[in-house]
Symmetry: C2
Subunit: 344 residues, 2 copies
DNA sequence: GGTTATCATGGAACCGGTTCCATGATGCGC
DNA sequence: GCGCATCATGGAACCGGTTCCATGATAACC
């Protein structure tokens, strides 16, 4: 493996000149630059980023913390982040930290501390104040995706608004007997997504003068999770709602599969709406609020790179970007067969 | 940010001693080590891996090349790889390279060349000889997952055997009219998985004295892909097979959903078998051949780390590990309703 | 008790880049 | 023609670790 000294020797210039020629910083005559570039090409020279990082302090690498890889939203974000970073010459180093991982502390104290990253992207992870401080002390910018972290710029959709829109769509079709299948409100670490989506549902229902008591049914955010909940929830025709707002498309799809297994017609007997725009939503003809996690990943990277250019001196930069979701109406929702009389 | 010089000063020893005390290499008295460790803790010192890499040549980082993130098999492998690496103190840097990516060359020539990795894991990517040589010239070990690369140790299942087992399961139930829904044979870059799974199917059919002509139906390896193919394939009752061997569970699930939509009873009128052990397979009661991609990822890391310890001097180490798949029988397969007379 | 092996430590070189500083050459304005 | 700004280049220091080598101090052995 050749070093810059080899290149300099071959081009018959000093190391300093070779460095300037290749990096494009400082004065080098066009002629000399060409000599150096030729020599580098001839030797197949690629600069050691490590050595450069040591002196410049820039690593050309970004760390990403994410609780799941094998879930659509997260995988999609990851693809967006990776693509955007690669384009800018950055490496992406991935830390898959389940919400309550024992590795968590180790990652923050050791992995993230060894000065390998120019910045950090935190996806769908609620960071504790201690963790945020830890990262801030490293002096590296941090951006979040999927939920607000105090004092950290964040890319996300407005979960409350999206949930409200979804619920209002069902209400506008004439449904009164609506339940919400989503995450538990008590899970603090899960980034308020659960709470917010329930909150939007609650707001819309209350505004329509409907009670929300007993309307929350919890589920894992997966297809099997929704399926399991669906079998339990829809089994008894007597207490079956006419519409369900699912907190994610995966849950919604599980519900639809369960409904089909139980012989319940969707949407004639049951309307289902989700949030996501999951690739499966088309084949299940699912009405949903589309978001674009890949784009969220790209925006997070753009925001991070901007921070590299001109750091905001640790100021509480609450430049949070809130993205629109758009309602895609397919045929999993319709007016209820016959308007139910409110109150059971 | 404190450096080892700060630690040494605080502990009143030389840099060299501090380094030995913290790394555990070389002679240091217990007493001195304690002094240094205390000083390091007091300063919140974490060694710069960059600086260490520069002199040792070990980066404590592994690069991973993968064509998809948002597919079950790949995401699962990734989780396994990441988990195993983290446990050993390694970082994982991810390159998401779609099969025919324009970025591909740039990643090999530039990103992988900047001496940042101790080794590379290539998942489900058929590398060209040129690419393998390129990596070998870097002198870094390389392991593959999901298909053989010439001269590179690889972790995979025996796709031919698994496909054969799946087909034999259908045959043993009495099916004669079986088709295969899978990948196209012509896609060279797609790691022979398609070819091998078809190959196993073909072998089993031929052995049973059945023709395979016209039995291959291609599909994307996704649920919507299987669904689309299912609607087309199962629409006409006259030429409907009694059983389908799907090359992946996602395809199989798409087929089952399509069958249900068409009012076809599974397994009474149609048996479906897949390969994977996808988490959705339980809820769709899918018979399948389970593989464990997460474990494959872990094994790949183990193999790579072993190579770090004692390099095999670039010898063609064909220590490929072939993992067993095991047949999990659920209720998507059964004997055909009435034995069909062979030959339509 | 002298020689030697083992242990403990410090100084200095080194990894491979980047950047500061000094030096020299050139071009420009007056 | 002189002074100064700009450009081009080389030498050397430096980033933050690790490791080689030299020096001393102990302990072990005959």
């Amino acid at each position: 493996m050749s070093s810059i000294a080899d290149v300099a020797r071959l081009a018959d210039v000093a190391k300093a000149t070779a460095s300037r020629a290749l990096s494009g910083r400082g004065y080098v005559s066009a002629e000399t630059r060409q000599k150096v570039v030729d020599a580098a090409r001839q030797l197949g020279y690629v600069a050691s980023q490590n050595a450069a990082s040591l002196v410049t302090g820039r690593t050309k690498s970004v760390g990403v913390i994410i609780p799941f890889i094998n879930r659509w939203f997260f995988a999609e974000v990851l693809e967006g982040v990776e693509e955007a970073l690669l384009e800018q010459g950055y490496d992406m180093t991935l830390y898959n930290l389940p919400l309550a991982s024992p590795e968590r502390e180790r990652v923050f104290e050791f992995f993230l501390a060894r000065k390998r990253f120019d910045g950090i992207v935190s996806v769908g992870v609620a960071l504790s104040d201690a963790e945020v401080n830890h990262l801030h002390r490293l002096g590296r910018p941090l951006v979040g995706i999927g939920g607000a972290i105090r004092g950290v710029p964040t890319i996300s959709i407005d979960d409350v608004a999206a949930a409200r829109l979804a619920t209002e769509h069902l209400l506008s079709l004439g449904h009164r007997d609506i339940v919400h299948v989503g995450g538990s409100r008590v899970n603090e670490m899960d980034f308020h997504v659960h709470r917010n989506r329930y909150g939007g549902f609650e707001a819309a229902m209350t505004e329509a003068g409907l009670p929300v008591q007993g309307c929350l049914h919890t589920s894992e955010f997966t297809v099997p999770g929704g399926h399991e909940r669906g079998l339990a929830l829809l089994g008894d025709p007597r207490q079956r709602p006419t519409a369900i707002f699912a907190a994610s498309d995966e849950i919604a799809i599980g519900l639809i599969v369960a409904a089909r297994e139980l012989g319940i017609q969707v949407p004639a007997e049951l309307s289902v709406i989700g949030i996501d725009g999951h690739p499966y939503s088309t084949m299940f003809r699912l009405t949903t609020l589309e978001q674009h996690p890949r784009r969220q990943g790209q925006l997070a990277v753009a925001s991070l790179l901007a921070e590299f250019e001109n750091p905001t001196l640790g100021g509480h930069d609450d430049a949070s970007t809130v993205l629109q979701t758009n309602l895609v109406i397919r045929s999993s929702t319709s007016a209820p067969r016959q308007p139910t009389v409110s109150g059971s």
